[in-house]
Symmetry: C2
Subunit: 403 residues, 2 copies
Amino acid sequence: MKILVLGGDGYLGWPTAMYLSERGNDVAVLDNFAKRRWEMELNVEPLIPVHTLHDRVKAWREVSERSMNLFVGDLRNYDVVKDALQTFKPEAVVHYGEQPSAPYSMIDHTRAVFTQTNNIAGTLNLLWALRDYAPDCHLVKLGTMGEYGTPNIDIEEGFLEIEHNGRKDLLPYPKQPGSIYHLSKVHDSHNILFACRAWNLRSTDLNQGVVYGIDTDEILRDERLATSFHYDEVFGTALNRFCVQAVAGIPLTVYGGGGQTRGFLNIRDTLRCVELSILNPPRSGEYRVFNQFTEMFNILGLAELVKQQAEKLGHKVSIEHLENPRIEAEEHYYNPRHQKLIELGLVPHLLSDVLVTSMLSRIQEHGNRIKRDIIQPHVRWKRSPASPDGRSSAQAGISTASE
Amino acid sequence: MKILVLGGDGYLGWPTAMYLSERGNDVAVLDNFAKRRWEMELNVEPLIPVHTLHDRVKAWREVSERSMNLFVGDLRNYDVVKDALQTFKPEAVVHYGEQPSAPYSMIDHTRAVFTQTNNIAGTLNLLWALRDYAPDCHLVKLGTMGEYGTPNIDIEEGFLEIEHNGRKDLLPYPKQPGSIYHLSKVHDSHNILFACRAWNLRSTDLNQGVVYGIDTDEILRDERLATSFHYDEVFGTALNRFCVQAVAGIPLTVYGGGGQTRGFLNIRDTLRCVELSILNPPRSGEYRVFNQFTEMFNILGLAELVKQQAEKLGHKVSIEHLENPRIEAEEHYYNPRHQKLIELGLVPHLLSDVLVTSMLSRIQEHGNRIKRDIIQPHVRWKRSPASPDGRSSAQAGISTASE
């Protein structure tokens, strides 16, 4: 199958492209390397050196004898989107091509507006171009479990059967996202639903949990194929960050009480979920949502798990509770369904002691590259609390990030 | 009270500014005159000549002896927003400053992306600037009843108590908007709700029905104070358009069967609803939604009502059912609540024979200015149906609107 991966230079985009290529699909990647610039802005970098996308496509061809098309361009430019669809003629588009960080979106008003307009404009251009040039193409869009927030009722997969005053309807699940970034994904979801209904497009919205992991089978074939594993406060996710802190001998930083519960999944399962979605496409006009995670942890529990395993390897590990830089419930009900991908055949790679141990070892190999000063959170959801009312103090946010 | 009206040059913004000024408030208006450019793009113009905003502010001062501050700028420019808040120090901001037309948003991908990024960026800048410079200011935001779509259950005012699997929560009402424009308002609503929760802002989201009417008491005081009454396919709304068609001797164009039911209100009630919201502000951190309309009509019923009254005045009127250019249910359940503004004291100006007659007479006075060729719908929600599958034909949309 011909599959176009948008954001093909990213943490998940690149492994997805290789995974799908390895399984006999004709894969193209598209990226504008925006994240490389954001890394520069914040002076952060992935733990393991990441080759350029051009070089990785070349290395993949050498290693696998499979070629990949490479498009360079910005999804906000309609011609870029249109040309990619017209040239490559994909049967499925996997869309990772967005600004993916909640803290980045909360740094300042410039980045808040950028995150939403960037993500929305790219996806809208894509929807419009699909309508006009590839109406049968299946859009596999990466959303986030964070779209739902933490309601006090069970979270369903995208839609909720509601009975109200004696009448019933199946309606989009109400969303209560917790950052400007998460909001951008909610906006995308509404736009995609509209496009499916109005234009008979077909789309799978993958409301993904927090991804962890460094390696996939494809990555392990050659060091030039590594993906961008982040552990910093802006692009790093909880488990990845804890593992790096454990290796670096820095306290594991739990935000607030740590009772925040989230869905998690192994990077290998991300790839399989995308594949399962592609292999089982929705019908024309259908918008469907899969909640894409395999198990739930609370943040403190995750930190304790990493501590335990790291200590077995001889690391000295402590856990530090920080004032929560985010605005989120630290104790809450959380019961999201995640059956649909299981029903399609997903066999989860659950988080095991072995996996944590192997992540810790892999991080240890690159331990000399850990930048210790980029992990502590500086981006706050509220203005800096330096003043009593949290409002009148100087500009919050990271000092290196002005423009 | 000090009140800043964003979009103060518009159909509703200008009458709102005068209405609030007349009642003793210190009012400022802000606009970037974007709508004047959109009118040029499409070669449409309001029925009654509209003086520049500068001249109208001057005329209002002469007529009322009340002055108004005037800011010229684009809300997408953060400095414009920040400067207006810092200079004028409003206690309430009434936000009409968005691209307000569903057909405009559906012309082509450029205008689709523009509508969403323009509306979202302006409102996000406003929220951020309120957080940092006017956290106690009350944001009165104009949304639309179109955010809800036409669900098969009763529509509540913004939130819905949901019981699911034995647990309960009060959640944002699920939204199913029917155009790129309506989607932009849904995105705004999510963003504002977040800002209220995260930053303790206070906001009233007015989910407004379709507004009709030409005159308010303030407008009637001087011909230089007229507001921009549109009757064209892009900026005109149903009742206004029907009245112009009746006077011009053009068939009243009902889209599809005409069973589409919507909430409507008189322009005078718009002003009063905004005033009632300002007089009864929400508490800090509160995001509330008022459904702002006074009665419901289906489109065919409205056309018949106009026909009846126009015929009494001697006009010869017919009704024509056009293939619906939109994608919407033409027969549907519709039962939205609209109690909250009534509870605050709204006494509706219901649509009477007298009002329709007076609108028809006022339009008659300017009958020689009616452009007959801008009323018929050309903007289609789907691609032009010239080809059987509705997809492979040439670019849909109005030919004058390329850029």
